[in-house]
Subunit: 436 residues, 2 copies
């Protein structure tokens, strides 16, 4: 089929460089991208990707569900649908959210093309260029990419092992407002944070909500991993205790499968109306077939049983990673201990730079995401995100061993020659699927 | 499942009204929306919707294809994928476009969530607030909604039965530039125009391209209906004769089915790179399952045979509509004669207002889209779009008879009382699926 394809790339010059929107100027693929194309080779252990391991899904159940969907309901499932999303699925989404204490009405749910699109639509509705979004430090690379695309200014707020630090949040709000800037919302991932691997403690949840309410600040609660905790019941969502001040984002990408691209937002009524209009402008409607496929899966299958299987699988991988880190990492290396989700956040010994080290790591057949990807301001160079979601426990153990060897070599070089190549400055790490 | 749902809509006041982005201020659902919810009742003949009639699709073939996709390739089909889109599908898209004379490389294709999202991403990449987009008069309501969402200024250019008038295009470019404004692109639907129902003549295609090249103006060629012509071979795309100056948009929504939400853009290399980054920011990746489902359908089925069946079905409906219009409409009513696609553009006798008349038409159990929806500037009140794609020929005949009766009543009233209620001013007609 590809025979005689023309070479349409006569030139690599960009004739349009002077015509792009201001928001487009900063859209360049980072050097990390090129490395990741190397990192996808099978001999490299990738601790970089955020792809869920969906190998355990019941393919026979899903296969029958989608076949029946076409044969029995094809005229609906393959047609345009509601811009807000399928009513039955929105009802089921409310059932899913009830597990986290959320009491929502299907009318306040908007289905989106993955929760990534929910971040995009909320930002589209709220943010003018120059508006401030408060984020955790670090924060999800895909959300930072959206805020950048809408020309927002991101202000990071410190986290510790219990999640965002309330005093730091309060101070950031005051400082930004004292500077005369408008803050549009506080973007937070309270559970099994991407990339930090920590969760907001129960005690802090009330304080964070109280601070945001007192300061009249909207909360954007992004919760793709909430049902993937390794211990006990799902934590209570922020939205469960504040229906007017919180926009909640959910996703089926980690509890079922990402390839259907179905996420959602729950918002106060007036905001929900705006989100639907924004969705119609962006796509007319989210994919109907995807929505009905997920709806059918939820109805036909013990989907919570499947989520429990996922949890056990990820718990085993988390255990493998933490054990290997404890065994292999040199002193003065620290890391978070996640009790759910996909990620460990590792801080290198003083003087090491995760971005500068990445090419050497890939050469040693292990990959990670440098911490700078998760900051809008060039910070994070001493840190990295390690994912345990996709490789097997054996590969994780091997990957951590390779990484520890690279770090040890760096430390030896540093002891011999002093600090080496600093990070190449901050560039934009576009939130491709491999960084999700 | 809906038992004991809380009433979350304690208030209809919008607490956030002062916090939205400037672009959001104009996002309000039009009054037409409310009427259309009435118009969807079965007793109303809707000549308003742009939904394709997909009743003829081979459900057994598609059902088997999606089942096999899950069972044999589930780990890929349900996973995250490339932000640019599946390589095999992009290769097949190049084959589809070859039918219109386009010689493109799969590397220059970006898959989108319907071609609606392609319009959104192109506008995102190119348009700052205040930038001008030149559109035909009338133009597609969904594209106008996007341009509005990005705060563009739309300048309309006259069309006639041969499509956009080249002299009017050239004059508009000169006038806008003389006013010191930046034009980002010329948005055009050359084939079976939505809503105008006309096509750009072969002779004019070269002239339009020559004008745009001479004026260094990018063309955004939107072509969802190109393969749905009733006579002869598909027309040659503008992109076929200019690979550097044209961004081409295509869709499977009308040749296969819209519920998968798969469209695409073909762009010069540098622009394509920006579109992929914008896509990753918007959704991480377009729906993988949808893409592979369509790829499998194209491989397994005589999809062009299916398109030919669609053409014959739509031709029959077009014939029914034109015959009924000729038979029933009062003098001084005029309309276009489409030779493909879904739409007829009808102009009422002087003094009648299609928007003001719509409630009376719906009461008489027929619906249409008032012409004002297809202009950014309040024009079009004397016109309406009539769709023949979805109702049966019998229903079309009945609907046109009802509409003619309403128009005749309006004419009688006008002769008795003089001009009646003018249009209620221009409001924004959000591009919901029913207007697509």
């Amino acid at each position: 089929m590809s025979a005689d394809l023309p070479d349409v790339r006569q030139t690599r010059l960009d004739n349009y460089v002077d015509r792009y929107a201001a928001r487009t100027k900063g859209m360049t693929a980072s050097e990390i991208r090129a490395l990741f194309s190397v990192a996808s080779r099978p001999e490299v252990v990738s601790l970089a990707g955020g792809m869920p391991n969906i190998g355990g899904l019941p393919l026979d159940v899903v296969g029958s569900a989608v076949r029946d969907l076409v044969v029995d309901h094809g005229a609906t499932a393959m047609q345009y649908g509601s811009g807000q999303g399928d009513p039955t699925l929105r009802d089921q989404i409310c059932d899913v959210m009830r597990l986290e204490g959320i009491d929502a009405h299907p009318d306040d749910v908007v289905v989106t093309v993955g929760s990534q699109q929910a971040v995009d639509l909320v930002t589209r509705v709220f943010c003018d260029p120059g508006d401030v979004v408060i984020c955790e430090a670090p924060s999800y690379v895909g959300a930072l990419g959206v805020f950048r695309a809408y020309q927002c200014e991101v202000v990071h707020v410190a986290m510790d092992d219990d999640g965002v630090v309330p005093e730091a949040l309060e101070q950031a709000i005051a400082t930004v407002r004292a500077a005369g800037k408008r803050i549009k919302f506080f973007y937070t991932i309270p559970n099994f944070h991407n990339p930090a691997g920590v969760s907001l403690s129960s005690e802090r949840r009330g304080r964070v909500l109280e601070i945001c309410q007192r300061n009249d600040l909207l909360v954007l609660e992004d919760n793709p991993y909430g049902l993937l905790g390794f211990d006990g019941e799902p934590r209570r969502a922020l939205r469960a205790d504040d229906r007017e001040g919180v926009i909640y984002l959910g996703s089926f990408s980690k509890t079922f499968a990402p390839g259907f691209r179905v996420g959602w937002a729950v918002a106060p009524h007036a905001v929900r109306e705006k989100l639907v209009l924004a969705q119609e402008s962006a796509t007319l409607c989210p994919p109907v077939f995807s929505q009905l496929a997920i709806s059918s899966y939820l109805t036909r299958h013990d989907w919570m049983g499947q989520v429990k299987q996922f949890r056990e699988m990820y718990r085993e991988r988390r255990d493998a990673m933490l054990a290997a880190l404890t065994e292999k990492m040199p002193a003065a290396t620290t890391w978070t201990k996640p009790d759910g989700g996909f990620y460990v956040w590792l801080t290198l010994p003083d003087g090491l730079d995760a971005k500068a080290m990445l090419p050497r790591a890939v050469t040693a057949r292990v990959a990670y995401v440098p911490g700078t990807a998760f900051f809008s301001d060039g910070f994070g160079s001493q840190c990295m995100r390690l994912s345990y979601c996709h490789p097997t426990p054996e590969r994780i153990t091997e990957g951590v061993a390779r990484l520890a060897a690279v770090i040890n070599e760096e430390l030896e070089l540093r002891q011999t020659f002093g600090p080496l190549t600093p990070g190449a400055g901050h560039d934009y790490d576009a939130p491709g699927p491999e960084l999700s």
